[in-house]
Amino acid sequence: MAAARATGVAVVVLLLAFLTLPSLVVIVVSFNPTAIMAFPPHGLSLRWYENALTYPQFQRAAVNSLIVTAAATLLALPIGTAAALALVRHRVAARAVWAAALLSPVVVPGVAAGLGFLILAAGLGLLASRWVLIAVHAILVLPFVLRSVSVSVANLDPALERAAASLGARPSRVFRRVTLPLLRPGLAAAVLFAVIVSANEFVVSLFVSTRVTEILPVAMFTYVVNYSDPTMAALSTLFIAATFVAVVAAERWLGLSRVFGLEGEARGGPSR
């Protein structure tokens, strides 16, 4: 019995190691002083961080990433929220079809979507435009926005809105003062997901970006194909750290687990 338990623990530890070791290796290699990715490194150096942060194409791509992610999030948030309200609240015709269509970007292989957008953008003569990238990212993050906001909509008691309306509030005022504040956990999670998905999106972006409009993950891919020094490890470490901080902060201040209904109604319904 004890032996079986010890084996189980060992398997779990090995699995966790298997999942986290690649990231740890990347972090350790990023401090390598030499251009060869030696492991373990012979000393410590921040030169690859300097190289990563001063490489012009990375700087340009980082600015592009910020623009694309911000614009795509701002575009997907109202669309996803409207879709969530419509699909959860109302009897929409062909609702299953709408839901499937809106969630399909998660399922469609990146290369298939990328090629489709490439051919479409070429047909429209928009290949060099940043707007293609923004539209593509908005579509790709839409399922995540829809899912997170849907959970909040499902937990929202329509009686609260009816109460506001019966007290004389116009629909627009009900929406601004009652609906939106109550949807806040879902909206916050939606923004977080949208930003993480968009900032890490690579395959589809590779198809529809040019050297001028390309976002950071695409620039990183191009770099790693052409050079093999620890610059990429340094930049990846920064990416890992940023994502880690974002998720921890979200859990701490927004209560991610609450948004996912992991704690459900245990806290006594909507807080605040």
Binding site: P109, G110, G114, F202, F221
Partner: protein, 77 residues
């Protein structure tokens, strides 16, 4: 058991269209379907050929997802 089957299907669908990992780890020699799509589209500018491979990837993935949906729907319906 349904959980095991659906988990396997998701992993298969996910990995089937993997791009970045085989591209980087395969060193350009080990090609999976996603890498062929990218090579044909972006390096050879053979969009129709690339689209054919992309449709195959899409069809396999959608078939798996459809099978998954059927599997997870209660029998009674």
């Amino acid at each position: 058991m349904p959980g095991v089957v659906s988990g396997s299907l998701i992993v298969f669908a996910w990995t089937f269209s993997a791009f970045a990992t085989p591209e980087l780890l395969g060193g350009g020699r080990v090609k999976m379907i996603a890498n062929v799509v990218k090579d044909l589209a972006l390096d050879s500018f053979n969009w129709p050929g690339s689209a054919a491979f992309a449709i195959v990837a899409l069809a396999v993935t959608l078939a798996l997802v459809a099978g998954l949906g059927r599997l997870l729907t209660p029998r009674a319906s």
